[in-house]
Structure formats: structure tokens, C-alpha cells
Symmetry: C2
Subunit: 88 residues, 2 copies
Amino acid sequence: MEGNLVDVLAKIYVTLKESVLDPQGAAVSHALHALRYDTVSDVRIGKYMEVTLSAGSEQEAHQLVRGMCDQLLTNPVIEKYTYELVEA
Amino acid sequence: MEGNLVDVLAKIYVTLKESVLDPQGAAVSHALHALRYDTVSDVRIGKYMEVTLSAGSEQEAHQLVRGMCDQLLTNPVIEKYTYELVEA
């Protein structure tokens, strides 16, 4: 049957670029040290998103996810992202 | 040499429990539909954290990371988490 859709789950990991200061991460690191987690040397906080979608093919799913990330889900000036597609 | 430390990077994924409403996810889903991503059926937003730490052993690293998650990094009432340890 032409055009049967594939349902996919996109797992998207958004993190700040290395050059960008992460005050939230610094605050969490400070709090962890206060809780005696002295061996913590760095904390970076980002976003984890799960998007369920259907697409005509796996290739189209990749295009859709990259489009969403570039257009809405990430701020390309300060953030970078990786993602993986799994069957929904 | 007794007591040499292992440096690890903990990748922590925090998501809302299924039973918990995700207004942020609903808002993003709505925005994606407005951008013509009509095949999106669900969006869940969570936190992605990278914590760099050293530990006496891999086992100790697991204990430390679980401790941090339970004590500070997650809210066990509404959130669940998974993590993976990789060499820093």
C-alpha cells in the first residue's frame, strides 16, 4: 500500500555550546558540593525532548526532526543538538 | 596504586512520569502544528544533564550519581530518570 506511514519517536538532546557560560550548571555544581559531592568537577544542563511523529519514510522522519530542531526546538546561536530515531 | 580515581561523565535524562501532565510539551506540540508539522502526535519535555565527576571505582560512580539524582537533580514525585556513565 503506497504511502503507509512509519511512527517514530525522536529523542532530542539539546546542550549549550562549549563556549557558552552555563550559570544553571554552575549553580547545580555548587549545590552538589554543598551536599558533599566533592568530586564533581563540572555540570552542564540541557533539554531532553521526546517527539512522537509519523512520516512517509525514515528519511523523511530525519528531515522533519532536523527541521523542527532548526526552526523551533533549539536556539542555534547558543545551543547544539543531537537526536536519535527509534520506533514509536 | 591504591585509590586511583576514575573520571566519568554521567549523562542523566530526566522526564516527567507518564501520569503527569506536560503543559510545556503541549505548548511545543501546538507550535509545531502551527509550523505545519502536522504528523507530530506527542511532545514530552525533560532535562538532560552532563555531570563530570571522579570516583574510586565504577561502582562508586554509580552510587554517587544515583545519590545526586535522588537528592537534588530530580523530583521523585513527578519525575523519573535514567543515566549512563561514559569515560570523561
